[in-house]
C-alpha cells in the first residue's frame, strides 16, 4: 500500500529529527554589559572615587553606589570616567571601546550649579567632546546634591548646545545613567 509506505517514511523522518539532543545551552559572555561606572575626581593629593556597580545587569538588584569622600569648595578637579564589564573574566574595560568609537558616544554631566560646573577635556576625531576626561570646578559655598553621569550612544553631536554638554537636544540611546550623591564642603 502506497499510503503505508509514505506514513513509514514520515515517521522515520520524525523520529530521526526527534532524536537530536537538547544539549545544554552555552553560557553567553555578555560583552556589552556595563556593570561598573567609576568616576574619579583628582585635585592635588585628593582623589575622590565614585563607583556604581551592578553585577546582575538587567537583573533585579539595584546598582551599589559609593562615593569615597566629600568635595572641597572652589576647587578644580580633573575628572575621568571608566566603564567596566565585571561579569566576564578577565574584566573587560569598555572605556577603550568608547574612546575608539568616540564619534558615536558622548558623556553628559549634570549637577546643580551650587555643586559645580563641568568642562570637557577630550575630543573625538571630529573635534567634538567625548567626556571620558573632564574638569569640575566646584561651587563657592557648601552644598549637597547629585552628580548625574549619562553615556549616550549615537547622540546628535552637532545639535545645538550638545558639544557644550547640554543633553536636551542630544537624542540617541542611553547606555548608562548613574546618579552619585555628593557633598561640597
Amino acid at each position: 500500500m502506497k499510503n503505508s509506505k509514505i506514513l513509514a517514511i514520515a515517521l522515520i523522518t520524525l523520529v530521526s529529527f526527534s532524536s537530536c539532543n537538547n544539549d545544554d545551552p552555552i553560557a553567553v559572555n555578555e560583552e556589552e554589559v556595563i556593570t561598573t561606572v567609576t568616576t574619579t575626581l583628582t585635585a592635588g593629593s585628593q582623589t575622590i572615587t565614585m563607583t556604581s556597580r551592578d553585577l546582575d545587569g538587567d537583573g533585579p538588584n539595584a546598582p551599589v553606589v559609593t562615593v569615597s569622600g566629600d568635595l572641597l569648595v572652589n576647587t578644580t578637579y580633573t575628572g575621568a570616567v571608566r566603564f567596566l564589564n565585571e561579569t566576564v573574566t578577565p574584566v573587560d574595560d569598555i572605556t577603550l571601546e568608547i574612546k575608539e568609537e568616540g564619534d558615536e558616544h558622548q558623556l553628559f554631566f549634570q549637577a546643580p550649579a551650587t555643586i559645580g560646573a563641568f568642562t570637557y577635556a577630550d575630543a573625538d576625531v571630529n573635534g567634538k567632546p567625548i567626556g571620558l576626561a573632564f574638569t569640575l570646578k566646584t561651587g563657592t559655598a557648601a552644598a549637597t546634591g547629585n552628580i548625574v553621569v549619562v553615556l549616550r550612544h549615537e547622540p546628535a553631536k552637532s545639535a545645538a548646545g550638545v558639544a557644550a554638554g547640554d543633553i536636551t537636544n542630544a537624542g540617541g540611546a542611553t547606555d548608562a545613567q548613574i546618579t552619585y550623591p555628593v557633598k561640597v564642603k
Binding site: A27, V28, T36, A173, T174, D175
Partner: protein
C-alpha cells in the same frame, strides 16, 4: 453499473460569495405529465425527495455552477450542471428506462465542518489588491479584525480583540510555527501565495488545534482543478516608500495526472513617510518562492509543496530607546528623535527572517463517502534581530532563534446520509535553538516541544433548514527548556522554593535551569445553523479553547528596547481557557443584506503583562511588567452590510466593537481595538472596460477603555532631576482616513488580459497615530500613498 463522479469546485479561483444562498424548486413529472412522487433530487450537497405532487424545494445552495441529479427507479436519470445565480425553478421530465439507478456523489472541498459558525472569506480579487502589503493588512477587510502593528511592515491580525498565540495561522493545512508569540513578529507569509483566506472568529476549527482563543486564519493556496495552463503577473509601484513589488505565478491545472503551481515575489521599499517627516529606517525587502507538484490518480492524489519566505524589515530608528528618559522625551516631544533624509538603506535595528515550509500530502478516497489524508510537514524559521550595538557588534544579531518543527497530520472524513464525520490526529516535534553567538542572553531559551492531538467532529443535517455540529479535541504537550537565570532574578521571582528541582547547574552569578512542563488539554465546539424563510439565517456556536503559556509568557526575562520596559515571564503560569459564545444573524433582501455577529468570550487565566515595580540598572530605572493571569471577558459585535443600490452603485459598511475587561482587577484590558467602522461606495460599469471606482472612509474612534499604566520617572531639567509622569497609557485621538481605488480591465491579445489599477491611501495626508501600533510613542503613521498596479493574466 456504478459511475462515480467527483466534482470538485475550484472555488479557490472563482470564489463565490460566502453568503450566496439560493433556493431551487420545481416539479418532477413523467413524459405523460404524471407527477413522480418520491423521486430523488440531488443538488450540490443537498438531497431531497419529491412530494406526492412531484414538487421539491432545496434551500441554502451556493451560487455558481452546481451539479443537479434527478432519479427515479425505472426512469432515466437526469445528470446536468446548472449555473445558479438566484432562486430558480427547475422542472424535470424523466423518461422511462430499465437501467439500474446510477449513483452520484458530490465531493466538495470544505475548510471545516463548522456549519454553526459563519466563516468570513476573502476572495482572490481582494487578496490581489493587497499584493504589495501584508497578511495583517488584508485581514482588516473583515469586520471585527484589526491589526497590531510595529511600524508599517510588521502587521499582526487581531480577531475580536485577541492576537498572537491566540490567533493561529494555518497556511495550506500547516500550522505556521514562526515565533508568533512576539508582538513584533508578523506572520511569515507571502500574501501572493494565498488563493483564499478564511477567518474563523472562534475556536471551532478543531482539526487545526484547540488553542485558538481568539480565532483562526486559514489560508489556502491557488489550486486549479481543470486541464489548463495559465500565468499571472502583478506589478506594484508605491509612492510612499518609493518602492514596489512584482509577483509572478504559473499554474498548470489538471483533473487527473500531473498539475503544478509556482510563484515568485519580490518586494522592495525604502523609508516610508509620515505627512511631516521621513520615518527613518522603515524600509523593507521580501523575496519569496512557493511551488507544488501534484499527481491525481483515480482513487488518490499525492502532492509535494515547498515555500520559502525571506524578509528584511527596518525598525524605526527613533523607536530604539536606551532608558525611560528617552521614552519620556519621545512621548513628550511628539516627533521622532531620529529623522534622516529618505534612503533605501536599512540599518539597525532591523529584523531578518527566513521561513521554509516543505510538506508532503497523500489523499486516499476509499469510496464516494470516505477519504483519508496524510500529511508530513517540515518548517524551519530563522529569526535574526539586529539592534543598535556597541563595540563592533553591529553586524552580530542581538537575537538569533532557529525554530524547527516536524509534524504529521492524519485526517479521516466520512459522509453518511445526513451525517458528516471527521476525525484525525496530529503529532509534532519542535526544537528552538537560541544561538549564543549573539553575545546576549537569549530572550527565548532553547526548548523542545512534543505535541500530540486527536479530535472528532460531527455535523448532522436535522432537516433542510436546520443543521447541528459538535466536536471535541484532546491535546498533549510537553515542553523541556534550558535557560540561564541570574540567581538574583530566580530569587526575586520566588522560584527558589517552588522550582528548585529545575536547577541543574551553576555559572557564576547564574543558575542553569531546565524547566519542564506537561499539559493535557480538552477543547470543544458545538452549535447550530437554522434557516428561516425569507432568507433569514441564524448561526450559533459555543467553543471551549485551551491554550498553554507560550515561551515568552514563561521565560521572558529582560529589557524591551522599544518600550523601555523590563518584561518578566512566570514559570508558575497555568493554561488559559476560553469559552466563546458567538451568534450571527444574517438577513437578505433583494438589494440589501445585513450580518450582525455579537459575541462574548470569557477567558479564565487570561495571560497579560501588568506593571508591578521599578528596577534600577546601570542604564537607569525601568518599569517592570510581569505576565499575570486574570479572568477576562471580551464582548463585542461585528456588523456588515451590503447594499446594491443600482446596477452600477454599491455600498458596503463594516463595524467592529470590542470591550475587554479584566474582571479580577476590575479594569480594562490593554491593547483592545477601539470602535471602528468603514463605509465603501463603489461604482462599476462593465461597458467601460469593467471600470471600477471605489471610495472608502475608515473611522477609528479613540479607545476610552484602557488601564492606567502611567508611571513617574526622574528626568534632568536644568541640571537637576525632576519627577515627571510618563504617559504610556492614553490612547491617541480618533481619526478618519479616506482611500480611493480604481481599476480597468483590457483584453490584450488572444486569451490574455490586463488590469490597471490606480489607488490612493490616506488621500488627505492625515496625521494620526494608531493605538495598536507599538511605535505610536515615537512617530506618526504613514502619510498619503499613490499606488499603481498592473496585473496580467495569460
Amino acid at each position: 453499473m456504478q459511475t462515480k463522479i467527483y466534482i470538485v469546485f475550484c472555488f479557490c479561483l472563482f470564489c463565490s460569495l460566502s453568503f450566496a444562498q439560493n433556493t431551487v424548486s420545481g416539479k418532477i413529472t413523467t413524459q405523460g405529465g404524471m407527477p413522480l412522487s418520491g423521486s430523488h433530487i440531488h443538488i450540490g450537497t443537498k438531497t431531497v425527495s419529491s412530494d406526492v405532487s412531484g414538487n421539491y424545494s432545496i434551500k441554502k445552495l451556493p451560487a455558481g455552477n452546481i451539479k443537479v441529479f434527478v432519479s427515479y427507479v425505472g426512469y432515466k436519470s437526469v445528470d446536468t450542471l446548472v449555473n445558479l445565480s438566484g432562486d430558480q425553478v427547475l422542472n424535470f421530465t424523466l423518461k422511462e428506462n430499465t437501467d439500474q439507478l446510477r449513483e452520484v456523489i458530490i465531493r466538495q472541498k470544505a475548510n471545516t465542518l463548522n456549519k454553526s459558525l459563519l466563516e468570513q472569506k476573502i476572495k482572490t480579487e481582494t487578496i490581489e489588491k493587497f499584493s504589495n502589503q501584508t497578511l495583517g493588512d488584508i485581514l482588516k477587510e473583515v469586520a471585527g479584525v484589526s491589526s497590531l502593528k510595529t511600524g508599517s511592515s510588521v502587521v499582526k491580525p487581531v480577531i475580536n480583540g485577541l492576537f498572537g498565540s491566540r490567533v493561529p495561522v494555518i497556511n495550506n493545512n500547516v500550522r505556521l510555527e514562526d515565533q508568533e508569540w512576539g508582538t513584533e513578529h508578523a506572520p511569515n507569509f507571502d500574501v501572493n501565495a494565498a488563493g483564499k483566506i478564511t477567518v474563523i472568529k472562534g475556536a471551532s476549527g478543531l482539526q487545526y488545534g484547540g488553542d485558538a482563543v481568539g480565532g483562526l486564519v486559514v489560508i489556502e493556496p491557488v489550486s486549479v482543478k481543470r486541464d489548463t495552463l495559465f500565468g499571472k503577473t502583478i506589478l506594484n509601484l508605491a509612492s510612499n516608500g518609493r518602492g514596489g513589488s512584482v509577483s509572478t505565478s504559473l499554474h498548470k491545472g489538471n483533473d487527473k495526472g500531473w498539475s503544478w503551481n509556482a510563484l515568485g515575489t519580490f518586494k522592495y521599499s525604502g523609508d516610508k513617510e509620515a505627512p511631516d517627516y521621513v520615518l527613518s529606517n522603515s524600509g523593507n525587502r521580501e523575496a519569496n518562492f512557493s511551488g507544488d507538484v501534484k499527481f491525481t490518480g483515480k482513487k488518490y492524489d499525492i502532492s509535494g509543496y515547498y515555500s520559502f519566505y525571506n524578509t528584511t524589515i527596518g525598525i524605526l530608528s527613533a523607536s530604539h530607546t536606551g532608558n525611560v528618559n528617552d521614552l519620556y522625551n519621545s512621548i513628550t516631544n511628539k516627533i521622532p528623535s531620529v529623522v534622516n533624509d529618505f534612503t533605501y538603506t536599512i540599518k539597525n535595528p532591523k529584523q531578518k527572517v527566513q521561513h521554509h515550509l516543505a510538506k508532503l500530502n497523500y489523499n486516499y478516497y476509499f469510496d464516494e463517502t470516505a477519504s483519508l489524508a496524510v500529511q508530513y510537514s517540515f518548517q524551519f524559521n530563522e529569526r535574526l534581530e539586529f539592534d543598535v550595538r556597541r563595540g563592533g557588534f553591529s553586524n552580530v544579531a542581538a537575537l538569533d532563534l532557529e525554530l524547527t518543527t516536524n509534524a504529521i497530520n492524519v485526517d479521516y472524513k466520512k459522509a453518511l446520509h445526513d451525517w458528516t464525520l471527521k476525525t484525525g490526529f496530529n503529532t509534532s516535534f519542535q526544537n528552538n535553538f537560541a544561538n549564543p553567538a549573539t553575545g546576549i542572553d537569549p530572550l527565548i531559551p532553547n526548548f523542545e516541544r512534543i505535541e500530540f492531538g486527536t479530535y472528532g467532529i460531527a455535523s448532522y443535517d436535522v432537516s433542510d433548514s436546520f443543521s447541528v455540529d459538535a466536536g471535541m479535541r484532546y491535546d498533549f504537550s510537553q515542553v523541556d527548556a534550558a535557560k540561564f537565570y541570574y540567581k538574583s532574578r530566580w530569587d526575586e521571582r520566588g522560584y527558589a522554593t517552588e522550582f528548585a528541582d529545575f536547577i541543574v547547574g551553576e555559572n557564576g552569578l547564574k543558575w542553569l535551569v531546565k524547566p519542564s512542563f506537561t499539559f493535557h488539554n480538552i477543547s470543544a465546539s458545538a452549535g447550530f445553523h437554522k434557516e428561516f424563510d425569507a432568507d433569514l439565517n441564524w448561526y450559533s456556536n459555543i467553543s471551549l479553547a485551551t491554550r498553554n503559556p507560550n515561551p515568552s509568557e514563561f521565560f521572558s526575562d529582560g529589557l524591551h528596547h522599544s518600550t523601555g520596559i523590563i518584561e518578566l515571564g512566570d514559570l508558575a503560569l497555568d493554561k488559559e481557557q476560553a469559552i466563546k459564545l458567538s451568534t450571527t444573524l444574517q438577513k437578505k433582501w433583494t438589494a440589501f443584506s445585513v450580518e450582525v455577529n455579537p459575541f462574548i468570550n470569557s477567558v479564565r487565566n487570561f495571560m497579560f503583562l501588568r506593571p508591578i515595580d521599578f528596577e534600577t540598572t546601570t542604564r537607569g530605572a525601568f518599569p517592570v511588567w510581569e505576565y499575570q493571569q486574570t479572568n477576562a471577558r471580551l464582548t463585542g459585535v461585528d456588523v456588515q452590510t451590503h447594499w446594491k443600490i443600482s446596477k452600477q452603485w454599491q455600498h458596503d459598511f463594516a463595524l467592529g466593537y470590542v470591550n475587554g475587561k479584566d474582571l479580577t482587577n476590575k479594569e480594562s484590558l490593554i491593547d483592545i481595538p477601539p470602535l471602528n467602522f468603514s463605509n465603501k461606495i463603489q461604482f462599476s460599469k462593465n461597458e467601460w472596460n469593467d471600470l471600477k471606482l471605489e471610495l472608502k472612509s475608515e473611522v477609528v474612534l479613540r479607545q476610552n477603555q484602557f488601564p492606567d499604566n502611567n508611571f513617574i520617572t526622574n528626568i534632568i531639567v536644568n541640571n537637576e532631576l525632576v519627577p515627571v509622569l510618563v504617559d504610556i497609557s492614553t490612547p491617541p485621538p480618533a481619526y478618519q482616513l479616506l482611500h480611493f481605488y480604481s481599476e480597468m480591465k483590457f483584453k490584450t491579445f488572444g486569451k490574455t488580459n490586463a488590469t490597471i489599477a490606480f489607488s490612493v491611501q490616506n488621500i488627505l495626508n492625515t496625521t494620526y497615530r494608531d493605538y495598536l501600533n507599538r511605535q505610536r510613542f515615537f512617530a506618526d503613521e504613514m502619510g498619503r500613498n499613490f499606488q499603481i498596479q498592473l496585473k496580467f493574466n495569460y
